[in-house]
Symmetry: C2
Subunit: 154 residues, 2 copies
């Protein structure tokens, strides 16, 4: 049991729930950092747990590691992130979550009307068939904002 202020890989792994291979991967991807022991083993600061917590939460909401890296870059480079720093990025992120919820609601409501008609396709259904015939993806996809949109045909 150690009460030190540096953590080993296994401690971070256990406490964060990430496999050590994931921790190494995140380090390579520059999402987290680690110092080294005399013998070359990784030593983490406690703060890494908070970063990892954010990484998991963000990826649960569907952010890519690339996006997460960007979010994390809003944290100060030099000083230890304060409560206010975290709040800033969390609030930013909250907006995304709201967007995603709204997107799904629009989709659901569109689907709702589809259940009524049973079509789910062809010219009439904008949810599923955004660019057949006259309709373009852009118009049809009004229901689906960018956060959830997948371009048609790839």
């Amino acid at each position: 049991m150690d009460t030190h202020d540096v953590l080993t890989v296994s401690e971070v792994s256990r406490r964060s729930g990430f496999a050590s291979s994931a921790l190494r991967y995140y380090e390579a991807e520059e999402l987290i950092t680690a110092s080294r022991s005399a013998g070359g083993q990784r030593r983490y600061e406690r703060a890494v747990l908070r970063r990892l917590a954010f990484i998991r939460a963000a990826s649960n909401v569907g952010l890519t590691l690339d996006e997460i890296r960007t979010e994390l870059s809003r944290l100060p480079d030099r000083r230890t992130p304060t409560k206010a720093d975290w709040q800033k990025i969390t609030r930013h992120w909250y907006g995304r979550l709201n967007e995603q919820i709204a997107a799904l609601e629009r989709l659901r409501d569109g689907l709702d009307s589809c259940i009524g008609c049973g079509c789910l396709s062809l010219k009439r259904c904008a949810i599923s068939n955004p660019r057949d015939v006259a309709a373009t993806w852009t118009t049809g996809a009004a229901l689906l904002p960018a956060v959830l949109r997948r371009p048609p045909g790839r």
Copy 2:
């Protein structure tokens, strides 16, 4: 301009928005089927457009092709799917959408309280740190139902 009841690859591609390579892939994955011309070229029935519409809509909501295949398997094997058949699977799917929305809302609300405290981690924050110390993933993840849950550490 052809008014036939069979469609070529390029027609289906244009009308569905899927690349022909994707159509071939879906056929290999048994999500759609096609008959063949004398010379061995694919000929699609019109109904494939509806299937493709469903595939796009479902994948937009985050279903994997595996899950989509399962959904599609609810359609009748022999007869052409009726409006009622489509309604059955659409309704089933609507439930999923609602689950997903609820999941995001819980997440957002949890995050909301996190904005208040600025923690986003460690023992107190169930959103981001579901299994540190005493907390288990299962308990912590009460906020995150299965549809959105990613197991920690992989």
